[in-house]
Amino acid sequence: MNKTKITSRQLISLTAGVTAGGSVLVSGALIASVAKQDAWIGSLLTILFGIPVIWIFLFLGKRFPRMNLVEVSRELLGKWFGTIVAGSFLFLFLQISYHIPWYMSDFMTSRIIPETPYYVIKALYITAMSIAILYGLEAFARASEIFIMVASVLFVFVMVMVVPNAKIGNLQPVLENGLIPVLKSSAFLSCFLTFPPVVMLMIYPAHLDDPKEGGKFFFKGYFLGGGITCISILMSVLALGWAITANSRFPVFRLANLINVGIVFSRIEIIVFVIWVLTQFIFSTVFFYGFVTGLSQLLKLKDHKRLVLPLALLLLTMSEVVFPDVAYQENWIVFAWVPYIFTHGFILPVFLLVVYWVKKRVLKMDIGDNQGQK
């Protein structure tokens, strides 16, 4: 199973997709409602605070260059407890794989094609995810390179077009309420930006053609994805003001509504949707891939692709069940998602790290390092 290899450039695009995909369209409103006009400082600080977290992921990856997250937790925590922790990670990955089709159908039916049945959108989206995994990680990683390139170009284009609408007055007064609301907002943004890349540990060391150099590219991808999110939040606050940003469900989409240069460049908000679909597709497919490969490892299967299509049927039904309505989702994302991803993206990796140190330094056990020589 470790034969599939991806290049460092593909690691950048996958990480950027996972970092930006979770946050670019959805989290802006939450951040702006907490930090008001200073949301952009909050998002800059989030990228900064994320560096140690990413470093923890990289550290775990470097010590176990032939293993993914499921194998690492079983190696460190023993068979039973390790399986429980790995299963809990897999449950997170499964959750996200059917959350994203829900978001997609919610967005499409509320903004673009209101008369299409939502099941059709979900079925198409889940089909695309399944095809991506059936083609294998390499094909999908190559596709993600193109996706990120297209998404970055379109993103720069949209942001440049928005510049005439920006009013610097919307950012003032800077730090009106002190630094506390800014720090609070960056705690929320971390849950969409910094912690989800934990799923990259299913890919990062084991499937990389050059595991030693991987860390640098992981960081590059993180900064690219974080930069996209940060700029989108900054421009939303600059052009819309924090109050409108905080009150709209999809601030960046609303932002692109403002673009109106002559007749040619009006109604190009659909470009924002394209950016969102591209990054979101990378995001959800990496999580689905993590779930499928992790599950087949827990069950000791040889071929993980056999599970993709039955799971796709499961995703189709569950994506309808998971959020009954928008109000439920907006409440859930604050009160359940934030602590949930904090547990899995921060507490459990730190716990694994501490266990590694205790086993290595205190108990002097031979663990991790020598696995790389195989």
């Binding site: 907490v34 705690a187 998971v322 859930w332």
Partner: protein
């Protein structure tokens, strides 16, 4: 109505998939894969049917919201 259509689709798709996959898995003697495949397909079909006939499917989001309900106060503090 939509739920019905989806249930029909899931059952038909699942049956065709099983007809193709199960003989192949048996032939290659991949018994673990066979068990996992059958369990997941049956689970997917039965959830779709339950939803179509109006039963309430246990929602994992409710479970997570319940697990993390003790920290609600901390998050409310962060939101202010």
């Amino acid at each position: 109505m939509q739920d019905m259509a989806v249930a029909l689709f899931v059952v038909v798709f699942g049956s065709i998939l099983s007809l193709i996959e199960i003989p192949d898995l048996l032939k290659k003697k991949m018994h673990r894969e066979l068990v996992a495949f059958v369990v997941l397909t049956v689970l997917g079909m039965s959830l779709a049917l339950l939803k179509a006939f109006g039963w309430s499917i246990p929602n994992p989001s409710d479970l997570l919201a319940w697990v993390y309900s003790p920290v609600e106060g901390i998050i409310k503090g962060l939101l202010e």
